[in-house]
């Protein structure tokens, strides 16, 4: 039987991962040469750079924090989307990298349409843009002579490809290999964990305030719910765009409910719904607010291994190692070269909002 994850194993994971390197390079290959760097983005377009990118503008929301994590500093980030800037301001990333708060954030609208003139003013080596939102948001950049790296979104393979692309682009492929091998190692260890005989059902909500939008089959949330040995209560629906009624939530009656960071929903607000008192998760106090660190833990990001570990502790508490706080501290040091304080870990884990939740006491300092 595989032992539960230990802190040592988790930390050691950063140095492991020949397999992870191979997996991570599936969609992005770098070809460094005397003539410069070639990055293959997720459109399979080759972008040639004379030197590692020193000034990068990011338009996809999660890209700014990942770029900082891969670079190990905010230096290469020349500008970002207003939404990314808001996340920096509101979250711990702004505390870790205060200079990120002062970066230009007028590079694109909420619909990701680029403000080409603003971007040209920043003289970027590369502009990172969504590849799966249509050519209309890429073509104006390319016609202005800018190097555009296109990114897809939503799967673990996409996440690993982002890490590789960023490492290649910044001239630090070794760092990408480290991050990806860490993820691969944690993935392998969680996959090796024995699955519960009777897997608990988990229901993740992107939003709960104005509408109840759950993560259905095929989402990234679905991926990690199953990874930790649970089943997705919203398996009957596909994707992440549909809202469900409260009656459907009662019909699913999940064992665990996760409140996402895409609105101001909290376990207390959720439980105050007049009909949700009958839900098993409300009665058993297994409604949790998903942590929010350098970026939200719910969608795919460089902090995803921590999300998997956090959820594993809640889904399989009997196999817990009880050292998530130490892992958060170590992983943030690894990702951001920053020593998070105990108070900051409390903030990341939403210790206040989750204070009365079952099994959450284990995360106390």
């Amino acid at each position: 039987m595989t032992e539960s994850l230990t802190r040592r194993q988790f930390l050691r994971a950063g140095g492991l991962g020949a397999l992870a390197v191979a997996a991570g390079l599936q969609r992005s290959r770098a070809a460094p040469s005397a003539a410069g760097i070639t990055v293959v983005d997720q459109r399979r377009v080759k972008i040639h750079l004379a030197h590692p990118a020193r000034r990068v503008v990011t338009i996809p929301e999660p890209a700014a924090s990942m770029l900082i994590a891969i670079a190990g500093s905010v230096a290469p980030l020349a500008g970002m989307n207003r939404v990314s800037e808001a996340a920096v301001d509101e979250g711990i990333l702004g505390v870790m990298f205060p200079q990120a708060k002062r970066l230009p954030d007028d590079v694109a609208g909420a619909d990701f349409a680029p403000d080409v003139e603003s971007i040209l003013n920043l003289h970027p080596d590369v502009v990172v843009q969504w590849a799966d939102h249509g050519d209309a948001i890429i073509t104006p950049l390319e016609e202005a002579g800018l190097n555009v790296v296109g990114l897809d979104y939503g799967t673990q393979a996409d996440l690993e490809a982002w890490v590789n692309i960023f490492g290649t682009m910044l001239g630090v492929p070794g760092r990408s290999r480290q991050v990806n091998s860490t993820m691969a190692q944690v993935l392998a260890e969680l996959r090796a964990e024995p699955k519960p005989a009777s897997p608990p059902s988990v229901l993740y909500f992107f939003t709960t305030v104005e509408s109840l939008v759950p993560a259905g089959r095929g989402t990234y949330n679905d991926f990690y719910i199953k990874l930790v040995g649970a089943k997705n209560a919203a398996e009957a629906i596909t994707g992440d765009q549909g809202a469900v009624g409260p009656e459907q939530v009662l019909a699913w009656d999940p064992d665990i409910i996760l409140i996402g960071n895409f609105d101001s929903g909290t376990p207390a607000k959720f439980a105050s719904h007049p009909a949700f008192g009958a839900l098993s998760a409300v009665k058993n106090r297994t409604v949790y607010k998903v942590p929010l660190g350098g970026y939200r833990w719910d969608p795919p990001s460089q902090e995803s291994p921590l999300m998997w570990r956090w959820l594993f502790e809640l889904v399989q508490p009997a196999r817990s190692t009880g050292n998530l706080r130490a892992e958060v501290k170590s992983y943030y040091k690894f990702l951001y070269h920053y020593d998070v304080s105990e108070a900051q870990i409390d903030q990341i884990l939403w210790m206040g909002l989750n204070s009365s939740a079952t099994n959450y006491g284990r995360f106390k300092s």
Partner: protein
């Protein structure tokens, strides 16, 4: 009296087109009853009232969570007289806390929107008039979207929607006061312009909304939904709709006179301007309250009065209550389908549009064949 061309009937951008529905021939549905009374009239309201009740009970009986029909009845009866408990707490919560307030809300909003459409079609003498033509729905939509954008509470959302709906009415009133010889045309144009302005503001809110945290909520709300129905929402919508409905029903005879034209109204002792604005205020109050609790649900105000006319005739003393009852039943059916067809909720505004557009087209064809739409 000339038969209108179908082009004129369907021309939303030609609001000056005079419009009324021809009185049904003797023996046709709706003919023969005087005022609200008359044997046929009472029969019509009995049938429509029973339909609303049946549809509401049906709405209480079906949903994504299975509650046996017998238990639904027992749960409802147990609210009035003590019964031996054979149902679970969840069964009771589903029926009493989820389905009942939602069914009440669809009844209230459906009746309100249908009344709005029937009144506007008569006041503006335009067969394609609905609350959106007056601009009120767009104003209310902006108020609600703004509340979501600012991260305000659900109460603020309702207040914002209601308040901005009334703001639009004031703007339309101010613009319409300059009405010269064609006051209805001025009102319609004022409504269209004001509506376009607030529609642009709605677009702006969606444009600047955070795509990760706000946009989906705004879009879902704008599409129309009763998913967040509560007894509080019933009260928020119910009081204004009841006041508005009481007003327009009290003025139903004057509405008949008004639909003949201003000159005829004056000759019959009715002040057309005062009556018109009184009715428009009532419509704005009902439409704003409806949007406040359910988002912008289109096509109900447009289609339902036309569905009711073949049965009630065009006398507003019968048409208004008939449209209200039919609207209540219609929207309850639409919402029941919206929440039961799929595991995810279909925004009811999409369903009313998908069903309403072809229904309106069929009505248009039938009325054209019968030469019912006429120029006065």
């Amino acid at each position: 009296m000339a038969v209108s061309s179908p082009e004129r009937v369907g021309a939303r951008d030609a609001p000056s087109s005079s419009y009324r529905l021809e009185q049904p021939a003797p023996g046709a549905p709706g003919a023969g009853a005087e005022g609200l009374g008359g044997r046929r009239g009472y029969l019509l309201f009995a049938v429509l009232g029973a339909s609303v009740l049946a549809v509401a009970i049906g709405a209480l009986a079906v949903g994504r969570y299975m509650v046996p029909l017998g238990e639904v009845f027992r749960i409802l009866v147990s609210r009035l007289v003590p019964l031996h408990r054979t149902w679970t707490v969840t069964d009771q919560d589903v029926v009493v806390l989820l389905r009942l307030p939602r069914a009440l809300l669809t009844v209230v909003v459906g009746a309100g929107l249908a009344l709005c459409g029937a009144v506007l079609q008569a006041v503006l003498r335009n067969p394609v008039a609905d609350p959106q033509l007056l601009g009120v729905s767009y104003g209310a939509s902006f108020g609600g979207a703004l509340a979501i954008l600012l991260g305000l509470s659900t109460v603020a959302l309702m207040a914002g929607a209601f308040g901005f709906g009334l703001v639009v009415l004031v703007v339309v009133f101010v613009l319409g006061r300059s009405a010269g010889p064609a006051p209805t045309l001025t009102i319609v144009l004022s409504g269209v312009v004001t509506g376009a302005f607030f529609s642009a503001l709605v677009s702006f809110t969606t444009y600047i909304a955070n795509p990760e945290t706000q946009l989906q909520s705004i879009v879902f709300w704008l599409l129309g939904s009763f998913a967040t129905a509560t007894y509080s929402a019933d009260l928020v919508a119910g009081v204004p709709v009841a006041l508005g409905a009481a007003t327009v029903l009290a003025l139903r005879w004057r509405l008949n006179v008004l639909s003949l034209g201003d000159e005829e109204a004056r000759s019959l002792g009715v002040n057309p301007q005062a009556t018109r604005w009184c009715l428009l205020v009532a419509v704005a109050v009902m439409a704003s309250a409806s949007v406040a609790v359910s988002g912008a649900i289109g096509w109900v105000g447009l289609v339902v009065p036309h569905l009711a006319r073949p049965f009630s005739g065009s006398d507003h003393r019968r048409l208004l209550p008939a449209a209200a009852l039919l609207g209540a039943a219609y929207l309850t059916v639409m919402d029941t389908l919206a929440r039961t067809l799929l595991p995810t909720e279909l925004p009811v505004g999409i369903l009313t549009a998908v069903v309403g557009a072809p229904t309106f087209f069929v009505l248009l064809r039938r009325h054209h064949r019968r030469a019912v739409w006429v120029d006065v």
